[in-house]
Symmetry: C2
């Protein structure tokens, strides 16, 4: 039965892709508006596409190098599975494709959204939201499609007489495609993040602060680059990122399911298959529920802001509520061991996501005290804005961490049947919680992705001179997106922590396979010899001397924490350098091109686009490669204990650092908006200037370094998993 | 023999204290200069003393509460050793006394330094450095005295027939006095840090930036508060802090020595005693060598800056070189197992300290590229200064972390006789490395403490109108201090990481004692029963299920990382709030007191002192109490695995966060100085304004939050150790 049920997974994937195509076609049939609007949209589109081409070239080289390494390891030294190089490539390809399609849609949608907003707010919402939904559906559709194809292929070709060992090999091989997705995602996030923030910071510093012209003003040479940046960073980057999160959580959970049921007292191959496909089925049903949610997002023609917000929330809440019921249904149909308790783990995951989302909103929205007080600190200048913002971000880590800790303990506790020694099932529960959290990604991503589309629509409206009323509508759409996006961010960050834990467990499984490949059949523990395939997580920990008094583990933890900071520092510096070039260029144009500020001469937009592109390409390589190299070197020097230390240290410090950076950045952004709404002197006042400094500092915090950390955590785990064969065969200490 | 050698320890302590008294007397015999100089010095002294009185009142209440809790645990429920409440009190008392005496000296020395600098640079150096040496000698003298007294007392009164078990009880009881010292130190650092930075930020923001008057100008109402702040933060806070580091490293190492030799294949009570007194002896000899170093710091009357720097470096280098030789000598005399290898661990510790110091200097001194480039980023305004400074600080964590990791692995590897399974001796090696690093604290602290004295002398000179030439000399003394202080900081931060690890191991020992007190005689591991007193570190880890797949451990790690950020955030916010009050007050005085800016009316200094005092007192309690409560609650909820997770997570994230904050802050400070030296437009330029914003943001980074983190890490461990009896007797999960 379970093999029949599996076909729901590819079916849901195809439905998602077809619907995405339908929405895309519908959007493309609409008018792009006046000639000016079309021209500007085409500028942005071309800039974005040319950036993506450049990006894929460089990423292609990195992939080529890694595939060669993997091939040598797999075919030359038998340190790895022969499927690894191919699986790795498909993961990277589909992740990149998600970003590309999302961006293609977004760059086509912005002018159309602006044009629709000329007639009504609701029209604008409709175009923007449906276009966002294209991205959401493409990500989940491609993700499940890739998973399905590999599951079918590996089931056909993996050769192992023992069905349970075969399933373990299948699931761990599939993790490799997760590494491809993570690598692509990291480059997309880092490169896109540097691009968008260099342009944004550059445009703001000279345009807003020095020349005193509004945002998106056509006189600002960096304004097209800024709009391109929204697309390559916030759309293409986010698409690749969430593709990775989505697939990573499903694959890690499948691998944990395979491992958990292999260790069961009475091994049952059918039960193992069920445990492997359960996360896929939950995700597949999540797609259908997301689609239902998307179709409920409609409002009456005369709806106000509140009505719109209600419409969006109704969609996501409906999907979330339905997924809870559906999960229990799926688990009941599968008759998986402890099905009701595992279902509770899913509920735990969803609740954690909601709590993190609410906390994010509390700390970063101008409707609440913290951000209002942050804005007030602008009365004493930019320095106190920065101090208070850093303080706010650091304090704001408490609730999300406590929520995740509660989520870890409870999802483990439930799934293990209230028995902490049942490690396999407990970890499976953590994975299932992450899958539950991301299962309705189709709709949450739609509400997320529509933000930058609305933002770009605003840019288009401003540059095309469509007038105050249209700009007001696009602004309303934009700020609506900010509110709903908070929940989406909560889900993304929470799932990263849980998936990180699940990947840690998968690493141990991979170690088993690595030892197997080296021809080892048992592990010696004191005077007890345990057969390799019967050894538990705890046995492996004892065998490799992985304990919290081991200097290797502790060294790994220090390095892991440091990696999170180093990575952030490198990306911050990259933005700083690229932005400085942009500032110089904008200043040069204001100085040298006569009549530019009076609107009599056209600025050289293309040059700014080029500067951002070059800066991002140059700067993204080192931090990204570092993330790939660090686990390999740590493994070669300190062996398995060092790698586990690295992953746990990186996970715990990186998760907290990511929340801090995201929330500080978000609060600075909204504190500025709060002042612009007329508080503490409003636009142009000294307080406003101080908060603009905060916003500028916050840009790389929240859109470059912060979100990249989520990927860094998982990529380091993925690399460790793929390189496990090498780590077990040699280490210095 | 070893019991006779022990008497070197109290002897060295007494010598240090006598010499401190001699230096103090010598300094007091000098003239405080003109009447104005005396008046200003007396203002600062009074402000500082009144602050300290307030501070000790509040800390006294906290200590009282804790002593009551400990007494109930010890005498009511037998969950703790009866000596704990008393030992706790003495640690707090001596730590506070170190800070008090250091501050008394510093506040008396500043005007005398300024007065001596009127005649010659060398004269100024002499007064300031000798006064700094008072602080250094008081800290090490009181530290070893307290250790000696307790060692003698507990040897007399602890009742246990087994000499080796008795020694373990003695050393773990002594750790409690470390908790007293840490608690006092945290309050001193946090309270002092908030005080000094509220005053500094307030004075700078309104005085320098808005009114455009120089630093320490008598027209600025916050200027006395600023000078008081240097004393309560940088002197009293640092004194209490380093007292804690010094004692903590010695006590933790003694406890590890007792544990390691108890687990030896052939237990030998005499060898255990040697292992316990070895760190004390190294520290005692370090005092004597520090004194020799201090006396070599003299220059010819006509010495220039370079000559002065050479004189200072000669002193510290000489002490460091001698301690290496002396350590091998001590270990050889004791004929301790593996004595030569343990000696190598000490060398490793010293080298790590030097590397961290050099790296700190490279990243934060204006003589090198990173800080120069940071200053250059001011060309594009304050936002890019902040972005680049954050990036610089984060990137700068790499070298110190790699150095500490190398230090951990090598000191463990040497002391364990190249055998990673020899956990006891390996950990002892890590502790010994930390002791080696801090052994010459007497002189390194002298070079550190003399910085704020020179700074205050400058303030006094400025306010007394002593003229440009005197101010130039005091500035030279000040910047000389900054250079030598970098190495001192490296030692403090490196030793915090190593001591943190050593305390982690001591925690396991304390668990053993806790189980013993509960009447448990063995621990059950699968079907193997191990006698409590024979159980190894690894056995305890297995018994409490402390492994890196345990959700409790991982939850603890998340909470530990979060604690570091939360603590920083709370202290940052505290500075922000207190500084805002100060800014309001200074602005009010400029507005309301007529003629203040023309120097015709006196500002109300006392009111500013009062604002800083109140702000610091109000704000320091919550973060400090949180640090004490967090390990207790984590223990009650998650038991031993959660606590170990908390400590490792807090240690790894906190250490990296501390380096980031210290180096960002230091670089911002010096980037501003670099601009003031005439680069990028010099004083008053837009670049200067931008770097002043960076400097202001950096103030709480480097002087409040960053240094407090070192104490936080150790205090959480100390609390866990003292509360171990409670944790083993009950936990929720």
């Amino acid at each position: 039965m379970e093999q029949t049920l599996f076909w729901i997974v590819p079916a849901a994937a195809v439905i998602a892709l077809l619907l995405a195509w339908y929405f895309y076609r519908g959007m493309m049939r609409r008018s792009e508006g006046t000639e000016t609007m079309q021209r500007i949209a085409s500028h942005v589109r071309k800039g974005a596409m040319s950036y993506l081409r450049q990006q894929y070239k460089i990423v292609g080289i990195v992939f080529l190098a890694l595939v060669i390494v993997f091939s040598i390891m797999a075919y030359g030294f038998q340190l790895q599975n022969p499927w690894v190089p191919v699986a790795f490539l498909t993961g990277g390809f589909f992740s990149g494709l998600s970003g590309f399609l999302g961006m293609k849609t977004a760059t086509n949608a912005s002018a159309r959204t602006a044009n629709a907003a000329r007639e009504s707010l609701n029209g604008g919402l409709n175009v923007a939201f449906r276009s966002g939904a294209v991205m959401g559906l493409v990500v989940v559709g491609l993700g499940l499609l890739d998973i399905s194809i590999w599951y079918v292929l590996l089931n056909m070709f993996v050769d192992n007489a023992n069905p349970m060992q075969k399933m373990t090999m299948i699931t761990t091989t599939m993790l490799t495609f997760g590494m491809g997705a993570s690598t692509q995602a990291l480059f997309a996030r880092v490169g896109g993040g540097i691009y968008t923030k260099a342009a944004d910071v550059g445009a703001d510093l000279v345009g807003k602060v020095e020349a005193g012209i509004p945002e998106d003003d056509p006189r600002n040479p960096a304004t097209i680059a800024d709009n391109v940046g929204d697309n390559v960073g916030d759309v293409a980057g986010m698409g690749a990122d969430l593709y990775e999160s989505y697939c990573g959580s499903i694959l890690a959970t499948a691998a944990l399911g395979a491992a958990a049921f292999m260790q069961a007292a009475v091994p049952d191959p059918a039960m193992q298959v069920k445990a492997v496909i359960a996360p896929m089925l939950i995700a597949a049903v999540g797609i259908i529920l997301s689609i239902i949610g998307i179709f409920t997002v409609r409002t009456r023609e005369d709806a106000d802001m509140k009505g719109l917000l209600k419409a969006l929330s109704r969609g996501t809440n409906l999907s979330s509520a339905l997924i809870v019921a559906a999960t229990f249904g799926i688990l009941w149909v599968l008759q998986i061991t402890n099905w009701a308790l595992i279902g509770c783990s899913v509920v735990v995951g969803l609740l954690v996501g909601i709590v993190i989302g609410q906390a994010t909103e509390y700390y970063t929205s101008q409707s609440y005290k913290p951000t209002q007080r942050l804005a007030e600190s602008g009365k004493t200048g930019p320095a106190t804005v920065i101090i208070s913002g850093v303080g706010l971000g650091m304090v704001s880590t408490a609730i999300p961490v406590i929520a995740v800790v509660a989520g870890i303990i409870l999802s483990y506790w439930f799934a293990s049947g209230f028995d902490f020694t049942n490690v396999g099932m407990g970890l499976y529960g953590i994975g299932i919680a992450a899958v539950g959290m991301l299962s309705t990604l189709g709709i949450t991503l739609a509400t997320d992705a529509y933000g930058p589309i609305a933002d770009n629509a605003g840019g288009n409206a401003e540059m095309s001179g469509l007038g105050e009323s249209v700009r007001k509508r696009t602004d309303a759409l934009d700020s609506l997106g900010n509110t709903t996006a908070a929940t989406g961010k909560g889900f993304a960050i929470g799932s990263a922590a849980l998936t990180g834990l699940a990947l840690l467990a998968s690493y141990i499984e991979e170690i088993r396979i690595g030892l197997d490949r080296l021809g080892q059949t048992f592990i010696q523990l004191g005077d007890r010899a345990v057969a390799l395939h019967d050894a538990t997580f705890t046995d492996f920990m004892a065998y490799f001397e992985v304990n919290l008094m081991s200097p290797k583990v502790l060294s790994g933890m220090f390095i892991g924490s440091m990696m999170a900071f180093l990575f952030c520092g490198l990306t911050m510096n990259a933005v700083g350098r690229a932005a400085a070039h942009m500032v110089d260029e904008v200043r040069r144009q204001f100085r040298e091109i006569k009549g530019i500020l009076e609107g009599k001469a056209d600025p050289d937009y293309a040059r700014c686009v080029q500067i951002s592109t070059k800066g991002a390409q140059r700067e993204m390589v080192f931090p990204s490669v570092l993330a790939i190299v660090a686990p390999i070197i740590t493994g070669l020097v300190f062996g398995v204990p060092g790698v586990i230390g690295l992953l746990t240290g990186g996970l715990s410090a990186g998760f907290v650092l990511a929340i801090f950076m995201a929330n500080s950045g978000g609060a600075w952004d909204n504190a500025k908006k709060y002042v612009e709404e007329g508080n503490f002197g409003g636009k142009g006042s000294e307080v406003h200037k101080a908060t603009v400094t905060g916003d500028t500092v916050g840009d790389p915090f929240k859109d470059t370094s912060g979100p990249s950390l989520n990927i860094l955590i998982k990529l380091m785990s993925m690399v460790a998993i793929v390189m496990a064969g090498l780590t077990v065969s040699w280490s210095l200490f």
